[in-house]
Symmetry: C2
Amino acid sequence: MNQDIYQVQFLLERITGLLRNERRQLLAEYGLQPVQFEALNYLAHCNRYSDTPMAVTEYLGQTKGTVSQTLKVLETKGLIVKQGDSKDKRVSHLKLTEAGSEILDTQQLSPQLAQLESQLLNDCYQPLQNLLTSMQQANQSRPFGQCRQCRHNTELAQGQYLCELTKEPLQEQETLLLCREFERP
Amino acid sequence: MNQDIYQVQFLLERITGLLRNERRQLLAEYGLQPVQFEALNYLAHCNRYSDTPMAVTEYLGQTKGTVSQTLKVLETKGLIVKQGDSKDKRVSHLKLTEAGSEILDTQQLSPQLAQLESQLLNDCYQPLQNLLTSMQQANQSRPFGQCRQCRHNTELAQGQYLCELTKEPLQEQETLLLCREFERP
DNA sequence: TTATTATTGTTTCGACTCGAAACTATAAGG
DNA sequence: CCTTATAGTTTCGAGTCGAAACAATAATAA
């Protein structure tokens, strides 16, 4: 019983350990660390409500001080730019630069996974998705889901969406991004 | 197609990120780091051919210098002891102390996972196992499997085993441990 | 309005991680 | 016997991370 839990935990840690080592090696030529890449990757997939240092902090589960340093490195390397929020002067928005997007495009996919039969990965998808969802529900950590599946999102017409939380209309594409305010229906 | 790969990779990294953060917090009271725990955990589950610093190095995928420091910390904290090999004077064997085993017993299982429905985890087991196996095959990294499933292992009689590689008999229990020389049948 | 409190984000510090390279000691092979 | 390979340690420099102090702005209460 508990043994099963341990086995799955073992597999998860082992697989991700291998992926992490692989990524570390690949990123070395860019002078990037795994955690910096994770932040960059998040910023590429989050919406305009969720591209702030605080959102990254929540996503990575680290302290804001730590994240602040991570972001400083990314900015110094010219992979992201910081833009002040127009309404709340405390808040910054972080956008990927061309260079940032390029690194992401080339490094996003693990070569180790890419060379496997896709069936192997497909078999993992749904069980892992269920697992993550349950973990987030059980720990009231923010799920960071896609707008489109959020209970604050309503489809006005075909391809036209509205976020009830911000009262702002959303583009079709925007609703596929990750949002820190995401809540399940 | 590639999108599927990315999704699974995303889920793996997200789940393990949560587990890693959880573990970091839990280990803080012992003054242990995640990587130190991983080494300790490995040493608790490997056999007597695989409890050396070099084996830990291969398992963790780091450099021997890095691992040497990790092990030094564990030894200083009294969680492991170093024993010289009787035949090869270059080699050390690392054994868990009482204190080391205790920490492992209390910290091994993730509370976050333990509170979930076990069905959720069971659904993940086989797909993940297949994934890991394929990854190891594709990357000639050592699989670190159980003796009992190794092609060098033969069952002489019920509960009596022999390793053809070392020509040594193995106890029933030993064949359930991880071995660095493991090869698939 | 004004004072208090909360929130966002940065900076600094100290302990720890990690790879690279130099180094020691022992083993193996020609 | 000499050379090469292997196991392991040490040192160094760049980076990670949390804690705590700090500044600036926003929200709330009196």
